[in-house]
């Protein structure tokens, strides 16, 4: 954005004005409408404005500053004004940038619905933003889902955007949670309550990292009289102390129907059954790659891999609720949920290693251009899924293929309605040929 360079190139007059011609400097920045927010918390957001040399720079940096201020989580609405400096001792190219807005109220609340993995939930949230004036945020939320899983969280979040490491977007939070999950396919329920410490930051190459420590109590309940004995043996409360790292990298152009870009997410956990005793490592990864083709079509390759390493001399084997289950409309289509998992006494018993891949050819609906925006909510796809449990080899492969229609819900979730042909299954697998319905946000 050098001002000198652009001077030569605007001899021609054009309809658009080239703002780089005009020298400018920002004399003053007003940030208004803030009451309880501390000054130092917002100062860093606008610092770069003072470095602007041309009017183009001023515009761009005002935009950045605007985004930064919004990101701080203190404004309900915000407007930016640029005016010439009218004070008595103003310089010739001096400008004043003003931000006007309303601070968020002490307490805000939302009630809504949320899409989970093959599940819908009703959520209620109460938030107290910016408690101590530096973006601290206390929130309570409760969700109750269709399959009767409940979730309750009390979270305190403290961002460090205003410090000198602000570019890395550091954020710390502490959460007290209580989740209860239902595993209908294996006839048990699980309760998980405890606390979670989280430290997340953005590293170069736009990889988001999250370092977490979780300590809580996990409890498995047999859900009815038909629960087989091998699951009952694992019932009862246990301590779970977990160190976790989550890494995510996302360059997709859209979360629901991406046509290009790569998405990678990895989760690694070090699991212990006492505070001082760690004997298991659980790794889970999801990779997705999108390649645009002709006529609005795109090719999607995705894969998942999970493996559990256990040292049984240190710790007892992990119970069933920590294991992997494969199958279902979100992973290996054409199978029942957890239907491609090895079973015992007719019920899936979980697996310590699994992999699965998906190959999709996405295409817009025929004649979708006549429907306008409405047509963009739909996509058709051909898919080919294959994967396996208990081994990383190609033996005993499970394969399914099919065709389906997907519908976008909001910016994150989608509904799939597929016709599936399971092409290859293993003994005791439970398949669901023909129509299958899936709803969720992370598909294979």
């Amino acid at each position: 954005m050098g001002a000198g360079k652009s001077k030569e190139s605007n001899t021609k007059s054009s309809a658009t004005v080239d703002f780089t011609r005009f020298k400018a400097r920002v004399a003053k920045i007003n940030i208004n409408g803030l009451d309880r927010t501390k000054d130092d918390y917002v100062q860093r957001a606008c610092k770069k404005l003072f470095a602007a040399k041309t009017f183009q720079d001023v515009l761009m940096e005002t935009n950045h500053a605007y985004e930064n201020l919004i990101e701080l989580g203190i404004y309900k609405n915000l407007k930016a004004f640029i005016d010439s400096d009218k004070s008595a001792n103003a310089s010739q190219n001096g400008y004043v940038v003003s931000f006007d807005g309303d601070e968020l109220t002490r307490i805000t609340g939302t009630i809504g619905t949320e899409i989970g993995q093959n599940d819908g939930a009703l959520t209620a949230e109460l938030v107290s933003p910016n408690i101590f004036g530096r973006g601290e945020r206390l929130s309570i939320n409760y969700s109750y889902s269709y399959i009767k899983a409940t979730e309750m969280n009390l979270k305190f979040l403290k961002p460090f955007y205003h410090t000198e490491f602000g570019d890395y977007k550091p954020e710390t939070s502490i959460t007290i949670f209580r989740h209860s999950n239902v595993f209908p396919w294996s006839r048990f329920k699980s309760d998980h309550a405890g606390f979670l410490l989280d430290f997340s930051f953005l590293m170069p190459l736009s990889i988001t990292h999250s370092l977490q420590y979780e300590c809580g109590m996990k409890e498995i309940f047999a859900s009815n009289k038909q629960t087989p004995f091998f699951i009952r043996q694992e019932c009862g409360p246990r301590l779970a102390s977990i160190f976790r790292h989550i890494g995510a990298y996302d360059t997709r152009d859209d979360r629901v129907f991406p046509s290009q870009g790569i998405y990678v997410r990895t989760t690694s956990e070090l699991i212990g059954d006492k505070l001082s005793n760690y004997g298991a490592v659980k790794c889970d990864g999801h990779v997705e790659m999108n390649v645009p083709l002709f006529a609005g079509m795109s090719l999607q390759l995705s894969g998942r891999l999970g493996k559990l390493f256990e040292n049984q001399r240190v710790m007892k084997p992990l119970p069933i609720d920590s294991l992997f289950f494969l199958g279902g409309p979100l992973s290996l289509r054409g199978f029942d949920p957890a239907g491609a998992t090895p079973s015992q006494e007719g019920l899936p018993k979980g697996s310590r290693v699994y992999w699965a891949t998906g190959l999709h050819l996405w295409a817009p609906l025929p004649f979708s251009r006549y429907f306008g925006d409405f047509g963009d909510l739909f996509r058709t796809h051909f898919f080919y899924n294959f994967g396996n449990c208990d081994t990383l080899s190609l033996d005993n492969l499970r394969i399914a293929a099919g065709v389906g229609l997907a519908f976008r819900i909001g910016g994150r979730a989608r509904i799939e309605f597929n016709y599936c042909y399971p092409l290859r299954k293993q003994k005791n697998d439970r398949i669901r040929p023909a129509f299958q319905f899936g709803i969720g946000y992370e598909f294979l």
Binding site: M217, E219, F221, A222, S223, N224, K225, T227, F229, R232, Q233, E234, C235, G236, P237, R238, L239, D273, K274, L275, N277
Partner: protein
């Protein structure tokens, strides 16, 4: 009846099934005897074991830390008995399961005796179990010196504190349901005293409560009393032991059953 007729085949099959069931292994799941088990749980486990001995069935005892959570339902139940594919927890359901399997100590009882038996069973179960729970969870000395240590022993820190708290609240809820929560220790002992005199009346000079042969009631009474006798309790609650010891017929009755069915156990 020809050998190949359908009915005879069916008959053979049914016989076959019953024989397999009789041969099925019986497994009792209970908490660890030495470090974990509490008074009321121990009593209930011993009652079931005595009952099985009376039936003349062999069984295997497996100790595991989470035995009380294996049974379905929110409340914890002990012991858990597994026979083949069947699972039952607590004294009553276990007896029902065995009766379902055509194993009973009271097959020849008439209706009056059966009613009597059921009444005594529920009376003994309610009073003794609640008295035991009261001692274990409401007496401060026992609670802090014995109960919390034993119940928490199988959980790592800080889960031991949480589990002690949870279990205590569950027990207090149960006790307040039976109106035991606000009683004093003396009042609880008084209830046990009354029960003992009732039982002595029923026992009389007989070997067992219902004559010559043992019944479920004998198993249950023995299970509870024997555990109270043998458990080491602090002096603050020794009144309970002394009260039961007053009734020599009952102590002799326990001695008889112990000798007959548990020759090896030393008091």
């Amino acid at each position: 009846m020809s050998k190949n007729s359908t009915i005879s085949q069916l008959y053979l099959n049914i016989n076959e099934l019953e024989r397999v069931e009789m041969g099925e292994k019986i497994i009792i799941y209970q908490p660890y005897d030495e470090v974990q088990i509490l008074l009321a749980e121990n009593a209930s486990c011993l009652a079931v074991k005595t009952y099985l001995k009376m039936l003349g069935r062999d069984f295997v005892v497996k100790s595991c830390t989470n035995a009380e959570f294996m049974a379905p339902g929110k409340r914890t139940k002990l012991p858990v008995v597994q026979i083949g594919a069947f699972l039952a927890a607590e004294f009553d359901p276990i007896i029902n399961l065995f009766e379902h399997k055509k194993m009973s100590l009271t097959e020849n009882f008439n209706a009056d005796d059966k009613d009597d038996l059921v009444t005594y069973l529920s009376l003994v179960d309610m009073i003794l179990t609640n008295a035991e729970l009261y001692i274990t969870w409401c007496d401060n000395t026992v609670l802090n010196e014995i109960t919390k240590k034993r119940n928490g022993s199988v959980y790592p820190f800080p889960l031991n504190y949480i589990q002690n708290f949870r279990k205590r609240s569950a027990v207090l809820k149960q006790l307040s349901f039976y109106d035991y929560k606000n009683l004093t220790f003396e009042e609880v002992v008084d209830k046990v005293d009354k029960l003992c005199s009732t039982l002595v009346l029923k026992l009389g000079d007989k070997d067992y409560f219902f004559g010559e042969n043992p019944t479920e009631l004998d198993a249950m009474v023995f299970g509870h009393f024997f555990c109270i006798f043998t458990m080491e309790l602090p002096t603050s609650v020794s009144l309970l032991k002394e009260t039961i010891n007053k009734y020599t017929q009952l102590t002799q009755f326990c001695g008889r059953i112990e000798k007959k069915y548990f020759g090896k156990i030393k008091n």
